[in-house]
Amino acid sequence: MAGSSTTVDIAQAMFTEPVAFADWLVIAPSILTIIGGTLCLITRKQTTLAPKLGLFFLGLLVLNNVMLLAEVLKRGVITMVMGNWLPPFGIAFTVDALGATLALVAAIVAFSAGLYASITIDSSGKRYGFYPFLLLMMTGANGAFLTGDIFNMYVWFEVLLISSYGLLVLGNDRAQLDGTVKYGILNLIGTNLFLIATGLLYGQLGTLNMADITMKVRESGVSGPLMTIAVLYFLAFAMKAAAFPVNFWLPSSYHTPRIVVAAVFAGLLTKVGVYALLRTLVMLMPAARTELAEIIAWVAALTMLTGVIGALAQSDLRRMLGYLVISGIGSMLAGIAMGSVLALSGTVFYAVHSILVMTALYMAAGLMAAMAGSYDLRRLGGLYGASPVLAGVFLVLALAVAGLPPFSGFWPKVMLVDAALTLGWNWLAASILVTGFLTSLAVGRVWIYAFWRGGPEGTVDGGSVSLPGGGVLTLGAQGQSTAAVWVPIGILTALVILFGLQPEWMMEVSSRGASGLVDPVGYLRSVFGGGA
């Protein structure tokens, strides 16, 4: 307290040594996006300035997260405690390879979406606040990936959620309101479950710092209350991640918003839930995860299969993609169920792959609809003639999402199947493979109908029909350059191909993330210093 004359030995309560500038990388994603988001919110009526500001800050975010990941890979886990208070009392931001990787991929996806939106979101959508909401949503996502405090994670989840509501109703049409009501209520219940579990955990252990929880849980072993808390966390985050049977909010809302909003949501939101599952079940309460493994495995298999069967039954392209998001979540849950380092690396790799490929697929679907005038499979057709490039890109993404080589979806599936066979869980391996097969049917059908055949339903075999607008990509104002939609799809597709052809680096990073979860000694040392 300034002005008071008493002297206190603050070294007992606070860090006194100077904080390295590199440590600021940990908190910078949240600060950057808050500053960018608020500036965009203030300038949102200037529809040319706000997108530029938004893209500038998203670009900074990508840059920052690249440096953060590099720093984490070099130095190991980095911790910064807010206000210099010693842990476990201060709120800690603790970043390991897992958090940094996901934060980077999230930043890349958000930047791509910002670029894509610059011409696909009309000026009334921009005035309404697309960019501020996108940036504040990234504040929430990055905060959730990087924080080392369980209650703080809840707060970031809520930041993420409230901005996602804003994005979801952008446009205000009837279907959007309908979808947002369901999304809003069910997700709010999910975060309330998260809060219940956190409250009980605090009552049980008296701490909220994740490193402290990790230690205390490992000392106390499994007990009834901890099992209850673990089950509550599983339910809450399974709801967030859209796992069967608590996934109904996803297919009823993801096809209603603007396509770029759906793209970001499909990429990011469910994976934040998967990340939270990894953090709570695998790192905080490993013993409880072992007890629950069988149940998680069943949930995983059912999520995969119901997801892909749902996808096969849809004629709306966006709804089909929504079901594919769910199906992918199943594969990630399978890794969590198995819990070995190999399986968890598979989950992390799959999460990265799924973020990239689902966002790109939604973006490509947006282009297809812009050319053909519909998302309905029965009314799509002849797009190959209109844009062979898009046909190629979609084929790459389709093969990637189905898990076929040589694209990014192949390797995580190999890791997951390998892990399942090692554990002797042949049925889980089989369901992963069957899901892959059915996924290739679902996306292959889209490709054949939308691109390969001559025209929409009713076109004679071998004939071709000119598309409305001659298949020319008409987005935004007439004569505007369409580079802003091709570049993001290009970036994401390039990453999908890169991770397919050169998977070693990503495998290395995800296995570092996974082993950090299984054996969090580096995490603990980073928070509590060398003594722990």
């Binding site: 008071s4 008493t6 206190v8 209650f151 707060v155 809520e158 959620l161 409230i162 509501y165 109703v169 205000n172 009837r174 279907a175 959007q176 309101l177 309908d178 979808g179 947002t180 009501v181 369901k182 809003g184 209520i185 709010l188 219940i189 309330n192 809060l195 219940i196 956190t198 409250g199 009980l200 605090y202 009552g203 049980q204 909220l208 297919p251 009823s252 809302s253 096809h255 209603t256 096969l312 039954a313 849809q314 004629s315 709306d316 089909m320 499979l377 029965r378 059908r445 054949i448 109908y449 339903e457």
Partner: protein, 125 residues
């Protein structure tokens, strides 16, 4: 005192869940609010209840004189109240807009996003 509070929290949860099972959005929203209050009381109770000892350090001491009330759950509850309040405000406006646009507050009749009897996708290749 914790036992009594637990019973009260249980009652709140029961009322909240019962209301959320309704088909009408207004009931669901009231249910969510009551559920939120139940959660807040749960966190508060989880921090153990003590009476009339505010956690304030007197000016002439470095640490509190005796055992005090736990300030952390109060901070958590405050955060949670603010968050649930803003969510409730948002959802209320959203529900009102939806009622204006769709003309119903019955979730069973909200089928705009997922219309009934949608045709199947093309069969075969």
């Amino acid at each position: 005192m914790e036992a009594g509070f637990s019973v009260l929290i249980g009652l709140f949860f029961a009322v909240g869940v019962y209301l959320m099972l309704s088909r009408h959005i207004v009931h669901i929203l009231i249910g969510i609010t009551i559920l939120g209050n139940a959660v807040n009381m749960l966190i508060f109770t989880a921090g153990r209840l003590t009476r009339e000892v505010p956690p304030v350090i007197p000016p002439d001491l470095y640490v509190p004189a005796g055992a005090t009330a736990n300030p952390l759950p109060q901070a958590l509850v405050l955060t949670a109240i603010v968050i649930s309040f803003s969510f409730f405000a948002f959802l209320l406006v959203l529900a009102f807009r939806t009622y204006q646009e769709l003309g119903t507050d019955d979730v069973n009749e909200m089928r705009v996003a997922e219309p009934k009897g949608e045709a199947l996708p093309p069969q075969g290749y």
